[in-house]
């Protein structure tokens, strides 16, 4: 079996315009992939910074996957939330990033977006928070129905990961 190791961290977020953010991440793999060790999803701590528009999480990622095909190469999709002083969490962005296929160290910028509602919804959102969310987060990954969405651009989440591939060359794969 060919194996993939993803070792690294979810390091920080930038340009969200808010502090007290946390990030939920999910690993999406195809049917012919298995998770050998590590977690498939997780949530970072809530972080804030006093001087810059950056939230540093430094959340460790260590995932070991086994596969029997190249289809369904792993992707990580994230949801960024803001925790306000009362304890509610508001959605601040969705994003997705493909794990690079080239082994080595990569610094990936995941640009996020969030759905935007009509004028009335935005008015309420300004005062109360909240705002439209996707019913099913898997929609972040799908491509067929995306054109119906209206979204706005939000900040950037940075991943620093190292990818290690093993046994792929035994199956005629060149990377």
């Amino acid at each position: 079996m060919a194996e993939v190791h993803i070792i690294g961290e979810l390091s920080q977020s930038k340009d969200f315009g808010q502090q007290h953010l946390f990030c939920k991440w999910y690993l999406q793999i195809g049917n012919n992939w298995r998770l050998l060790s590590g977690k498939k999803e997780g949530q970072t701590q809530v972080s804030s910074n006093e001087f810059e528009d950056i939230c540093k999480w430094s959340y460790p990622l260590d995932i070991h996957l086994a596969t029997s095909g190249l289809q369904g190469w792993p992707k990580i999709y994230i949801q960024v939330f803001h925790l306000d002083w009362v304890g509610r969490s508001h959605l601040y962005g969705y994003g997705v990033v493909t794990i690079p296929t080239h082994p080595g160290q990569h610094e990936l910028d995941c640009y996020t977006w969030r759905p935007v509602g009509n004028l009335r919804e935005r008015f309420v959102q300004y005062f109360m928070g909240g705002g439209p969310q996707l019913k099913d987060p898997h929609l972040i990954l799908s491509t067929t129905d995306r054109y119906k969405l209206n979204t706005e651009a939000m900040g950037v989440v940075t991943f620093k990961i190292t990818v290690v591939l093993r046994h792929f060359s035994d199956f005629g794969v060149e990377y």
Binding site: T44, H64, L165
Partner: protein, 182 residues
């Protein structure tokens, strides 16, 4: 090796901390190597406590020069070692930071940003005005991916805090793997 294990040898140092330190303050630092279940330390030191560094001028660097040296053996890449540092000013915690040991052999220089926990209770918020600083009982949890689902755990990131290390991984024998990394 014939038995499917590989060795990782790490040597380096914690150079300095850059925090807005006030003159006359005393800082020290603790570090720890955290690794997964398949990893075993065969040599070197797993954790350490630094000397006490005094700051003479406001805002100058806190120079530690704390050596890090460890040799580990494993059969699996999962649980690759991480370094966990805790910085203390006198007896109060100033921050925690963590970082994966780089996976490619060679000399690396890494900056780690630090953060410290905020209190979650109202009483804590009041007493933090008087210098109360909560600490983690097990800083190792920062290096694991488990148990991070607690919403009430909030961490505030420190300003301009940075440390540099040189990691010189002198032998990374990965016999099992043929292609590793660039």
């Amino acid at each position: 090796m014939g038995d499917g294990t590989f060795l990782v040898s790490i040597s380096g140092q914690l150079d300095y901390i850059e925090v807005l330190a006030e003159s006359g303050s005393n800082w020290h630092c603790k570090y720890e190597f955290v690794s997964g279940p398949d990893w075993k330390i065969i040599g070197g030191v797993e954790s350490g406590l630094s000397q006490i560094c005094t700051v003479n001028m406001n805002g100058e660097k806190i120079v530690l020069n704390l050596p890090l040296e460890v040799m580990m053996k494993s059969t699996n890449l999962y649980g690759w070692p991480q370094v966990l540092v805790s910085i203390y000013n006198e007896m109060t915690l100033e921050g925690y930071g963590r970082c994966h040991v780089p996976l490619s052999p060679g000399v690396h220089s890494i900056d780690i940003s630090l953060c410290k926990p905020l209190t979650s209770t109202l009483l804590g918020k009041i007493t933090s005005l008087f210098g109360y600083q909560p600490e983690l009982i097990q800083p190792k949890m920062l290096a694991t991916t488990a148990g991070n689902n607690c919403k009430s755990f909030e961490i505030r990131c420190l300003k301009f805090t940075r440390k540099e290390k040189d990691f010189f991984i002198c032998q990374v024998y990965l016999i099992y793997f043929l292609y590793i990394l660039i």
